[in-house]
């Protein structure tokens, strides 16, 4: 500024003038956005918890953007709940679309970092600790990180919300181990505060009911234990047994199911949002199983095709194949309209249903773990009954179904799509353990449909059940048409740019290249 000596003298003179008029009075106040909140009051923290709940399952906004990118376009297709009918979408042919993965990752972390704010503001180091709320938030963090680590493997978990330019990834082993530990801690706190409430109406799942959060926590502990049962059998056994004996019990009836209530217009049922767009239909694998079993849930979950009949289509169709009449969306079954927002937009979105607990216990029993006195068969049949009950089926039809010796049906259609059934397992409890495991996997898969494909895809990778049709086409050089050839999603390409340090560490912790063919830690 030395150059401006002349100007500077004048400037000094005018500065004095400025002082006289105190010209910046009120500028701080003026520069505060009064349509927003600077510090959250407790009731406002409750509201923030709603955002963390919606964001945690990628229900980011009224268009459910994150949900579409990672659930509808990845796990819904990989689990073969649905097949893609949108011609522009290549992910059903196993393609890894970087932009989608970037978007889904960002949406999830938006929710996860919102949750971290809540953990920070309720935790022991906050000015006003709220241990019950913190425990609920811990349960929720456990719930939302399971599907994410099952997509990618390692990911930022303990480092969430560190505000740094590099955010380190944790290994999947660390994440599962910490989730189990964290659930154990939360269960202790929740069990001692069952008369209390947390987040009130800000909790769009249980409305603040601690007893139900406690059951949810025990059930998640069982879910996580089952997942790591091959890779760490001893920890899995300990945790599963602790969950089965946990204070407050497990979610065994549909009244305790975890389901998010939409709050229009901001947050709708995401399956409802997506299913209105006509971009996917029932898969061929789903048709084969449901039709073969004469499963009443088919008509509860799916609707008749516009041109009649309950029909599914093969996964991995090319654009030209999607254009064929047989594969047209009007000739195949969408999910029922009750999910759709055009109906009334208030159908809750189920994120955990009682049937899963029964099937997990059945598997634990087959593993020889001490999870109670009920037999594996009783637990398996209880799971079917719970799932049937969820869709409104009780009594004799359910009993007949459980006793049925029906097997999956052939998938009928033009020769390039037609396929024989992949399995001969019945609904009725089989004699051999391997068949029993397949039955459990198959019935759990049906019970998870249509909103819990993240869990279904993870369990399919872990167990190989149910047996799913190969894809008609593959466009991923690291995969093939064989069902299950996609072992994970690649890390978002954006991470290699904005979080290089974290990403590189993540690849190391993955234990293989950042490809869709590298199996996850528990997938051994």
């Amino acid at each position: 500024m030395r150059k401006y000596t002349n100007g500077y003298n004048l400037f000094v003179y005018f500065c004095m003038l400025a002082l006289l008029s105190s010209c910046t009075k009120g500028f701080d106040e003026l520069n505060t956005d009064k349509t927003k909140i600077e510090t959250l009051a407790p009731k406002q923290l409750d509201k923030l918890f709603s955002s963390a709940e919606y964001g945690g399952i990628l229900n980011t906004d009224q268009w459910a953007g994150g949900y579409q990118l990672l659930i509808s376009l990845a796990s819904d297709e990989q689990s073969q709940f649905f097949s893609c009918t949108q011609k522009a979408f290549p992910s059903d042919r196993n393609a890894m679309v970087g932009r989608w993965i970037n978007g889904g990752w960002g949406s999830f972390l938006n929710g996860a970092s919102t949750l971290q704010t809540i953990l920070d503001q309720t935790g022991p180091n906050s000015p006003s600790p709220r241990p019950v709320e913190e425990a609920v938030a811990k349960v929720w963090k456990s719930y939302i990180f399971i599907p994410m680590t099952d997509f990618f493997g390692p990911l930022p978990y303990s480092t969430i919300g560190n505000g740094q330019d590099v955010v380190e990834y944790d290994s999947q082993e660390f994440i599962y181990t910490d989730i189990l530990k964290s659930l154990g801690e939360a269960i202790t706190v929740l069990s001692q505060n069952q008369d209390k409430s947390a987040f009130a109406t800000g909790d769009v799942i249980y409305g603040g009911n601690i007893t139900q959060w406690l059951k949810f926590a025990n059930s998640l502990r069982l879910r996580a234990a089952i997942r790591i049962s091959k890779v760490n059998p001893s920890l899995a056994k300990t945790e599963a047994e602790a969950a089965a004996a946990g204070p407050g019990g497990l979610i065994t009836t549909n009244a305790d199911n975890a389901a998010q209530k939409p709050t229009p217009p901001g947050y709708l049922n995401p399956l409802g949002v997506i299913s209105e767009w006509g971009e996917f239909r029932m898969s061929a694998s789903m048709e084969s199983v449901l039709k073969g079993y004469e499963d009443p849930r088919m008509t509860a979950i799916f609707q008749e095709a516009a041109n009649g009949g309950y029909k599914g289509l093969r996964n991995g169709l090319t654009i030209a194949q999607m254009s064929e009449s047989f594969n047209d969306k009007d000739n195949n079954s969408n999910v029922v309209p009750r999910f759709q927002n055009a109906a009334d937009g208030t159908e809750p979105f189920t994120i955990y249903a009682a049937a899963e607990t029964w099937f997990n216990l059945a598997e634990a029993k087959l593993n020889g773990w001490n999870v109670g006195s009920a037999s594996a068969q009783d637990l398996y049949e209880g799971g079917i009954a719970a799932s049937m009950d969820q869709w409104g089926f009780t009594g004799a039809p359910v009993a007949n179904y459980i006793a049925s010796h029906n097997t999956p049906a052939p998938f009928e259609g033009p020769s390039e799509y037609a396929a024989p059934p992949l399995s001969d397992i019945t609904v009725a409890w089989a004699a051999t353990e391997e068949k029993q495991r397949e039955q459990i996997g198959t019935q759990k898969w049906i019970a998870l449909c249509p909103t819990m494909s993240t869990e279904a895809w993870a369990e399919f990778r872990r167990t190989g059940y149910p047996k799913l049709y190969d894809r008609i086409n593959n466009e991923n050089p690291d995969a093939s048409t064989a069902a299950g050839s996609v072992k994970r999603l690649i890390f978002p390409p954006s991470e290699a740019v904005v979080n290089k340090g974290g990403y590189d560490g993540g690849v190391t912790k993955l234990g293989g290249p950042d490809k869709s063919s590298t199996p996850l830690w528990w997938d051994k």
């Binding site: 500024m1 401006y4 100007g7 004048l10 005018f14 500065c15 003038l17 400025a18 010209c23 910046t24 500028f27 003026l30 505060t32 956005d33 349509t35 927003k36 959250l40 406002q44 923030l48 709603s50 955002s51 011609k87 979408f89 290549p90 890894m96 679309v97 970087g98 932009r99 970037n102 972390l109 938006n110 970092s113 704010t117 990911l155 930022p156 919300g161 560190n162 505000g163 740094q164 330019d165 955010v167 229009p264 217009p265 947050y267 767009w277 654009i319 030209a320 999607m322 254009s323 064929e324 009449s325 937009g345 086409n473 466009e475 050089p477 390409p493 991470e495 904005v498 979080n499 974290g502």
Partner: protein, 1006 residues
């Protein structure tokens, strides 16, 4: 060049004729009979020049015999007077000029300076043609006329946004656009009536900016509007023009294959991969049960142009100027009405302008102005991947469905009496019947803008005055968005959106001006202050489902389907500044400016920031004796530093309230310690004039560095924020600007003049921040990212592309289709031009004048999302080849030559399409050269209108954008972009077709 030689010869002859001289004395006065100091008096076609003294007196040695004196002075119309050989005393009265200020530059706060004394590059724009070859937005008229000025516009139909950038982009977060100053206060071009413009000057560097404050760091376009002139009496001018915009199809569609896929006609297909059209009978696409079950397949090659029609714009205006000794006034009214090339895109605008000025006492004068602008725009045409963008739907119309037919068959009523869209693929996510979009997704925007200006000037002493001024700018708008029920995805149950917005800016200024002479030194000093306050607010309400079908009111919102969003922002900035020019003997000028701003948008610790400039001008031609053919040789240099604040509300972290009372966490980390951005610039220029300024040229070299930029860099989303604001970066622009004006021929009956300008800008992002070698500036959401990359020019574009082996060959998958990168990480080019230029000519012959302008914008690329879709979907003629079989020229993963046959359909659908297009395949050079403007005008001779009340009458025929001499972007106009946002320059996405304009303009003066 022949004319030049003739001129040189004549000049030499004139020099040889040396004759006796004599002395004459005289007085130069203004209309108020006051002496005009510092006026230049020259002998026409001869030597000898004098400057008037403080009283307007001069004395000059002239050749014997009759001479013609040319008298000129800043702020006055130049005049020629004949002095008889016998006369020795002459008195000249000069009229003050407002319409012609070519040699005068209005700088900060209306301070008029001689262009000769400026130490920075300026270029004035010929205003005559602005009112002939009319553009609804004056900004569009500037292309090619000013060296270094780059214009792109958005595709929105009439009244599109226009982006003007001088000397390249320099700011990541702030606008790089030039500041518009109208009569000393900030304004905008879009609401300006071209008839009101008296002068327009472009100040390119930021040294001109120190006095306008930070908003001016990207250069300034200074406009003076007309005002009344003392002593001129009443003058009335009437202007009427008609302009026709003719859509031109630059695209090449295929008309051979029907809708469908795999070579089969499919009645509900949205693709053009169907069967060969040979007049066969097929299932009717129509879903109206009343329509026949089958229809005949026929192609409609003219669909695209059949959809659009000729746009029409009618401009009518009147202006009245009157001036007494005390009060002078100017009034104008201008009315523009018209319709766009989509015929329900209509437009009506009124502009009123009333300006009164004068002297209250000898010492106190005043100037006031009120302009009012009102505009109603119906159904502006959207651009980009917007389902209600009608361009998008017409481009996706299969050739077997005729525009003429769907005009009357785009809807029907079902048994319940509901209006149903008749589209071949009901419920489509993205497809709609183009006519349904045109008539049933409509919008309306009404905006009003009032600008008021009042100033008082008090002359304490003849050389000391104080100006006090208030300027108010208020803009209000109301817009409505209506979508009928059964508009797929975006309005299944109907939609009604209502947005109100308001913007107010108040500027209070004072300015002290002192002028003094100290021997050979002349001092002109200014000191002033400005208090700026801005508020903007918006309210946006939407009913996303309507109970009663197609009744558009918010009350009709279905339960839970009404949402509202409001915004408010307030901002203040106070400034004090001073400037001083010291002139030595009229040929050496040293200028210094300094300014301190206090901005509310910055945290208190960084709120106050100082910046300034210094410059030196030497008029060599006045310092030393140069050959006579050199009329001006000026060297100028300046250095400036400008501080720029930021948008409000970026220094604190907030939680937002979402519709329904939810609370969400901010994803952007605030800039708690926000500092002002600093742009340093230096320039060096030479202005040359030859042969009595019949040849003038300006050459300027400049370099600017913008540092401390407010950058919103991406951070790992897991950190809790997906982005954060930091002060970092260094963007450098270096360049050269050359302009040349030549009058090769000038006779009584015929003259020819031309101008050329050229500007080359080298842009480089020297640094971003230690942790971020790059960040994303913007994205169209589907195809491209526009990035800022360290070490590269501003605005690098990336997209998906082909995976290639080491030898650069395309790698194919087992299917024989090319492997496309998953991420948008393939560099496709830079979105900014390398150089821009213009070449304008003006011929006059008697009462005829012909002018035309070619403009060039060379370098840079444009990517076409439209092509990705129309090619991917099989509608482009490019998709005709390979339909029955195609082996992609590529190699397999193990390096073997690909032998697997695929089809054009499979190939283009994997390379193009909406969701995952490989932009690499749809990127073109944006270089283009066009005939930008052509004006033929005829001044009806005085004798023909002698019996009419008209003093003069001019008839003009005009053309704009008549044709391209070169356009590498086949199919569209590369200057028509999806949005004028900095991160979207370089992306064409379902824009309107190129239009060519013809106009007829009549100007009458009473």
């Amino acid at each position: 060049m022949k004319g030049l030689k003739v001129m040189l010869f004549l000049l030499l002859v004139a020099n040889l004729v040396t004759a006796q001289t004599r002395q004459i004395k005289g007085l130069v006065k203004d209309a108020a009979n006051q002496g005009v100091p510092s006026a230049t008096v020259k002998v026409k076609n001869g030597k000898g020049q004098a400057v008037t003294d403080a009283n307007g007196a001069f004395s000059l040695s002239v050749p014997a015999g009759n001479v013609v004196l040319q008298i000129s002075s800043i702020g006055f119309e130049s005049k020629e007077v004949s002095v008889a050989g016998s006369a020795s005393d002459v008195s000249v009265s000069l009229a003050s000029s407002s319409a012609s200020l070519a040699d005068v530059v209005v700088t900060a706060l209306g301070v008029t300076k001689s262009k000769r004394s400026l130490n920075y590059a300026t270029q004035s724009v010929e205003t005559k043609d602005l009112t002939k070859a009319r553009e609804t937005n004056v900004a569009n008229s500037l292309s090619g006329k000013v060296a270094g000025l780059d214009v792109v516009r958005s595709s929105r139909g009439v009244g599109s946004d226009v982006r003007i950038v001088l000397r390249g982009d320099r700011s990541f977060a702030n606008s790089s656009e030039a500041l518009i100053i109208i009569d000393g206060v900030p304004g905008d071009l879009s609401s300006l009536n071209a008839d009101d413009i008296a002068s327009m000057n472009v100040l390119k560097g930021s040294s001109a900016a120190a006095l306008y404050g930070s908003d001016a760091s990207n250069g300034v376009i200074i406009i003076a509007t007309k005002k009344g002139t003392a002593g001129k009496g009443l003058a009335i001018s009437v202007n009427s023009s008609t302009q026709l915009d003719q859509p031109v199809n630059l695209r090449d569609f295929q008309n051979t294959y029907s809708q469908g896929s795999g070579g089969n006609y499919i009645r509900n297909s949205e693709l053009g991969w169907g069967e060969k059209i040979v007049g066969q009978q097929v299932d009717n696409w129509s879903v109206n049960p009343a329509d026949a079950a089958t229809t005949k397949l026929e192609s409609h090659p003219n669909n695209y142009l059949d959809f659009y029609s000729t746009g029409q714009t009618y401009t009518n205006g009147v202006s009245v100027t009157g001036g007494g000794d005390k009060i002078q006034s100017f009034f104008s009214y201008n009315n523009i009405s018209g319709k766009g090339i989509v015929d329900n895109n209509t437009f009506l605008r009124h502009n009123f302008n009333f300006r009164v000025g004068g002297n209250i006492t000898d010492k106190l004068s005043f100037d006031t102005k009120i302009t009012y602008f009102d505009q109603i725009e119906n159904n502006f045409v959207k651009a980009g991947e917007d389902f209600s963008n009608v361009n998008r739907q017409i481009l996706r119309l299969p050739t077997n469905i005729g525009v003429d037919y769907i005009k009357d068959h785009y809807q029907f009523r079902n048994d319940q009496g509901q209006l149903i869209q008749n589209y071949w693929n009901p419920g489509s996510n993205g497809g709609e019947n183009p006519m349904w979009v045109k008539y049933n997704t409509t919008n309306k925007m009404n905006s009003g803008n009032v600008k008021g200006l009042a100033s008082l000037t008090y002359k304490f002493l003849p050389n000391l005055s104080l100006l006090v001024r208030t300027g108010l700018n208020k803009y209000l708008s109301n817009s409505q968005d209506r979508r009928f029920r059964n508009t797929y995805v975006i309005a299944e149950e109907g939609y009604f959106g209502l947005t109100n917005s308001a913007y107010t800016e108040v500027n209070n200024d004072f300015l002290l001006n002192y002028q003094g002479n100290f021997g050979d030194f002349k001092v002109n000093a200014n000191a002033g202050g400005n208090m700026k306050s801005r508020t903007s607010s918006g309210l946006n309400s939407a009913a996303s489902a309507l109970v009663n079908e197609n009744v558009f009111t918010l009350n009709n919102a279905a339960s839970g389907k009404l949402s509202s969003n409001e915004s408010y922002s307030a901002y203040k900035k106070n400034s004090l500044y001073a400037s001083g020019d010291v002139t030595y003997r009229k040929y050496l000028v040293l200028s210094v400016t300094g300014r301190n701003d206090w901005s509310s948008a910055l945290p208190s610790s960084n709120r106050s920031y100082f910046f300034g400039s210094t410059g030196l001008t030497a008029i060599i031609s006045d310092m030393v004796k140069l050959p006579d053919y050199v009329s001006l040789f000026k060297v100028r240099t300046s250095f400036a530093q400008t501080g720029i604040d930021a948008a409000p509300y970026q220094t604190k972290e907030y939680f937002s309230v979402t519709p329904g009372g939810g609370i969400s966490k901010s994803q952007s980390k605030p800039a708690v310690d926000l500092k002002p951005e600093i742009t340093s610039s230096g320039e060096l220029g030479v202005d040359l004039g030859f042969l009595n300024n019949r040849i003038t040229t300006d050459v300027t070299l400049y370099k600017t560095n913008s540092k401390n930029q407010l950058v919103n860099v991406a951070t790992p989303p897991a950190s809790g924020y997906s982005s954060k604001f930091i002060n970092a970066g260094d963007v450098q622009n270096k360049g050269i600007e050359i302009s040349l004006n030549v009058v090769p021929v000038k006779t009584n009956d015929f003259s020819w003049s031309f101008y050329m300008n050229f500007a080359r800008n080298w842009n480089k992002v020297v640094a971003i921040s230690p942790n971020s070698p790059e960040f994303v500036l913007g994205s169209d959401g589907f195809m491209n990212y526009t990035k800022i990359v360290e070490g590269k020019p501003f605005g690098e574009m990336y997209s998906r592309g082909f995976v290639r082996n080491a030898a650069g060959k395309i790698v194919v998958l087992e299917s024989g289709l090319p492997q496309i990168t998953g991420a948008q990480n393939v560099y496709v080019g830079n979105s900014r031009p390398d150089w821009t230029g213009g070449f304008g000519n003006r011929f006059t012959y008697k009462d005829f004048a012909l002018s035309f302008l070619f403009s060039a914008r060379i370098g840079g690329v444009i990517t076409s999302f439209t092509d990705a879709n129309v090619i991917g979907d099989g509608f482009s003629a490019k998709t005709l080849a390979g339909r029955s079989g195609w082996v992609v020229d590529g190699v397999t993963a193990d390096g073997a030559k690909n032998t697997v046959q695929t089809t054009a359909e499979a190939y283009w659908m994997s390379v193009g399409g909406r969701n995952t297009p490989a932009g690499e395949a749809f990127t073109y050079s944006a270089s283009n050269v066009r005939l930008r403007e052509l004006v033929l005008s005829y001044n009806i001779p005085q004798k023909k209108i002698a019996k009419t009340p008209f003093k003069s009458a001019t008839l003009s025929l005009t053309g704009r954008n008549l044709f391209f001499l070169m356009n590498n972007a086949k199919g569209f106009d590369p200057e028509l972009v999806v949005s004028t946002a900095s991160g979207l320059i370089g992306t064409e996405s379902f824009c309107s077709p190129f239009t060519r304009s013809f106009g007829l303009n009549l100007n009458l003066n009473f």
